[in-house]
């Protein structure tokens, strides 16, 4: 039916509006407003960069995982993050920016990635807290994005969400094991939760009132739920899980609000948030330097692979 309606819409603009209205997906070859394209490139590229940079804080613990099972799990998880980055770069490429351009812009500091990865991973318990809280927050956002109006982004999200559930569960299991262990292990779990709780809440972005992109993104159906609503969803989901673990969340204002049917929580330190966004978090410099170094030091591998293929295709041609 939508195809017949579309056939009657002569201008690209009308067709775009009709598709959005009908909750149909926009596909790469469809006409789209320039702003829609740019907004998506920006968001998907940042999302892809986040997955790739996100490999570093966890990669930090692979060689020091406490058991072989935990090591295999952590490697699989970090490999998933690489995969997620690749799905997302592919989705962004359908909008007319190349992989190499995105990588270059990240390396030159012209593209950002989620600030959460600018915090250090100090103990093994951080692997638990990241899986439970950081991936938990990521899932809350990404489930919403499976309903994004841009087809390739929405499809990448479906695939990612399926895999992300493993990430959160393995993190929770790590913390559960520590919480049932010695007092020292339990204290280590509590310390990790204390450090990761607030940055996890910041992951949802500034309050709706200060979020310059939200309104337009919602109109374009790129985003379906506001930052504050997602943050509330995450808090409501997480508090009972913390109770089960037997850890406290570092917020004296956190309490159930019978009237609202939600948990109230304290004021987020937005100054810290903006400071990390501006590049002054504890790990901003190191993360980007590592990434750049890995890219540059391995340039010879990429060049050799291309040279080998060129030589081989010449041979075939003869």
């Amino acid at each position: 039916m939508i195809d017949q309606t579309l056939a009657q819409r002569t201008s690209g603009e009308e067709r775009f509006a009709t598709l959005l209205e009908a909750e149909e997906k926009i596909e790469p070859t469809d006409w789209m407003p320039d702003g829609y394209r740019k907004n998506l490139i920006r968001q998907i590229a940042q999302h892809a960069h986040s997955e790739i940079i996100g490999m570093q804080p966890e990669g930090n613990w692979i060689t020091r995982a406490p058991t072989l099972r935990r090591k295999a799990i952590l490697m699989a998880k970090v490999q998933d993050e690489a995969g997620h980055g690749l799905y997302l770069y592919s989705a962004a490429e359908t909008l007319g920016i190349s992989r190499d351009e995105m990588v270059d812009l990240l390396h030159r500091g012209r593209h950002k990635y989620s600030s959460i990865f600018n915090y250090p991973t100090l103990t093994w318990a951080d692997m638990g807290a990241i899986g439970w809280l950081v991936d938990g927050a990521a899932i809350t956002n990404q489930v919403m994005l499976t309903r994004c109006s841009y087809g390739p982004y929405a499809r990448a999200m479906v695939r990612i969400c399926k895999e992300e559930s493993f990430h959160q569960r393995q993190g929770y299991e790590i913390l559960l094991t520590l919480c049932r262990g010695t007092p020292e292990q339990k204290a280590m779990a509590q310390d990790a939760v204390d450090r990761w709780w607030w940055p996890s809440l910041m992951m949802f972005g500034p309050p709706d009132a200060d979020s310059s992109h939200t309104e337009q993104s919602m109109a374009w159906k790129i985003k379906r739920v506001s930052n504050d609503e997602l943050r509330q969803q995450f808090v409501d989901m997480t508090v009972p899980q913390a109770e089960y673990l037997g850890v406290t969340l570092p917020d004296p204002d956190l309490r159930w609000n019978e009237e609202r049917g939600h948990y109230d929580f304290g004021e987020i330190d937005w100054e810290e948030f903006w400071n990390v966004v501006q590049g002054n978090g504890p790990m901003n410099r190191e993360r980007l330097e590592n990434k750049r170094e890995a890219w540059e030091e391995n340039a010879w591998v990429r060049e050799a692979a291309l040279a080998y293929e060129a030589k081989r295709s010449r041979k075939v041609a003869v």
Binding site: K38, H213, R302
Partner: protein, 111 residues
């Protein structure tokens, strides 16, 4: 998490750079299990077909999603131009191509 990282006032976001392009792009098709067709899974970059296949295995079948993979250079995929495409899909005018177009009395039974 919001991946829409906020930018500071006046800060520009680039959507292109003049960097030179590396590996060519490949489209990946995966057969989920025997008896089904290969279905498009996504794309990736690789220097040659053999490496593309290995990368496709790692990127698109980490959880037994497939029993067979095809990779095709993206430049070899041809499609109608979007503006022309609508003219090619005129089948909706030919309703007599659908079985439901024909009225068969109930007494005849399933047909």
């Amino acid at each position: 998490m919001s991946y829409d990282v906020p930018h500071l006032p006046g800060e520009q976001f680039d959507t292109s750079s003049d960097v030179r392009h590396g590996y060519p792009m490949w489209e990946v098709f995966v057969r989920q299990r025997r008896g089904l067709s290969h279905v498009h899974s996504g794309s990736l970059h690789a220097p040659d077909a053999e490496t593309a296949l290995q990368a496709a295995r790692d990127v698109y079948t980490r959880r037994q999603e497939g029993v067979s993979i095809w990779v095709v250079p993206s430049s070899e995929i041809h499609a109608f131009e979007p503006d022309e495409a609508i003219d090619y899909y005129e089948a909706s005018e030919k309703v007599y191509r659908h079985a439901t177009h024909y009225e068969i009395p109930d007494e005849v039974g399933q047909m």
